[in-house]
Symmetry: C2
Subunit: 306 residues, 2 copies
């Protein structure tokens, strides 16, 4: 069922060497390749048949669900709408990932809309990786959308990573956060060649003691372009922080536009950003330890995106 | 020629107890009240008769020019276009300021467009203060515009302060910076009541080794609103930093939207922002030294805006 390319993609985007334990749903070229549910985690195709509903029972603790997507069919533009309903007081790990293997001259693309309904007291760790590979000349596009609604006392740790190879990415993340809930979102994007990536983020701290920390790490090689937008809006006594850092490796362009909007007198919002090259003293230090220039650069980039 | 209110305004906005030494131009209610030129600094009314041209001879060092504006006529909306030509290798201080005294029910306003042409190697310190006072119920508006063009190896230190009392302010600052030139711009805005202030900034680092540091300090009392926008665009190997800090004292709203645009691989752009209340530990410390709560708050605000 899985060929060599599929296996390579699964290993990269979902850290899977084989079919995962626990609940999973593997989609390949727009079709279901395999699905497993558990006693506590149900997966079913939605009514419109354009995606799946992942339903985690209240109180489910320590389980995981994997939902990787593989695209290897030239000319295919796959669109999915997945919904995650995370029951009260559960604590689960969700691993999503999309790997494109482009073998031909036609374009391939994946647009995944992931909607999270995180119930009171629930905790999730969500890991999403995107990768595009292959010898084909077709344009690869990846447009992930993440929508998060958090009830009170919930926690979400979200890691959104674009590992490389996507010619064009339009990323959109939205979160609405209720009382005492915490969102930590880290987006890591690597681009090279003539690639472009745009990330637009709308984060709303709606209720008392809601918190969010939004981190963006960008590496721009060659002539690639990345734009990062965040609107962080505080409607209550809350705490929000944004951190955007970009490393320019070649002749790329980077634009970062964070907006802090304090609409409540007890809001506390902070932001830090930096755009620049790798610091020379870091390179010098690593090279003095015996690394070549290229090895030192790679080490720094790996650390930055880790 | 100067009445008691005029003298009070001049003291506040231009640190003048009397007619200044050196070149000056005092404008009151749209009319010239007094002008003095020096051997090196000429002031003349422009061709359109809607402003003045201040011309500083190349090599002028250690001189100052004061150009305060007083408004105390109910219903008057004064608009001026002033041009500063700062000759090569000069080093001068320019003190501008606008004071509105509103004694009646009609609105009063001042819109000053200040254009700076700073020639190679020139250095200026520019201090601009805006204040609105008076018992009148008329709306006071202040719309200062500052446009700066810096040739190479120039330095400009600009302090733009809105001391309070303006019901509505729309501030606009633009700078274009050439090789090895440095712009330090600090904007301080205090609002209270139902006042609103918007500051829009367009800063362009055009050439190699240009530098800018843009600092915004906002204090929002009561229900006032402040919005701060910056576009910092790097077209060359350059260094740019933005720092925006706002203190919310009442129920005010603050929005800060800085855009860092790196259009050159050797650009280095950084940003920091914070919006929040006065830190409790700062208050506690000052109160433990014997200050009352109000005294401690005032001390912190004074320090923040100093």
């Amino acid at each position: 069922m899985l060929d060599a390319i599929d296996k390579k993609i699964l290993a990269e985007v979902a850290d899977l060497e084989t079919i995962p334990k626990g609940a999973y749903n593997i989609r390949k070229n727009g079709e279901l390749l395999g699905r497993e549910v558990s006693a506590n985690i149900n997966i079913e195709t939605n009514a419109k048949r354009d995606g799946i509903i992942i339903d985690v029972k209240p109180g489910t603790v320590g389980e995981s669900v994997h939902i990787p997507v593989i695209l290897s069919q030239s000319g295919l533009h796959d669109v999915v709408y997945n919904t995650f309903v995370i029951g009260e007081n559960s604590d689960v790990t969700i691993v999503a990932g999309c790997g494109i293997h482009c073998g031909g001259p036609e374009s391939e693309g994946h647009s995944g809309v992931h909607e999270f309904r995180i119930k009171a007291g629930a905790k999730i760790r969500y890991v999403e990786k995107h990768l595009a590979i292959g010898e084909g000349s077709g344009k690869r596009t990846l447009n992930p959308t993440t929508k998060v609604v958090m009830e009170e006392d919930a926690q979400a740790e979200m890691e959104l990573t674009q590992m490389g190879g996507a010619d064009e990415a339009k990323r959109f993340n939205r979160a609405r956060i209720a009382s005492r809930s915490v969102l930590l979102m880290t987006e890591r994007v690597m681009t090279d060649g003539e690639q472009s990536a745009t990330s637009t983020n709308e984060i709303e701290l709606l209720e008392t003691d809601s918190r969010s920390n939004i981190i963006s790490r960008s590496v721009l090689k060659d002539d690639s372009k990345q734009d990062f937008y965040v609107n962080l809006t505080a409607h209550a006594k809350c705490y929000g922080h944004i951190e955007c850092d970009a490393i320019l490796m070649g002749n790329g362009n980077n634009q970062t536009v964070p907006a802090l909007r304090a609409l409540h007198p007890d809001a506390e919002l902070t932001h830090e950003a930096s755009i620049g090259k790798i610091a020379n003293d870091q390179l010098t230090k690593l090279m003095s330890l015996g690394l070549t220039y290229d090895e030192a650069v790679n080490r720094i980039i790996q650390g930055f995106l880790a």
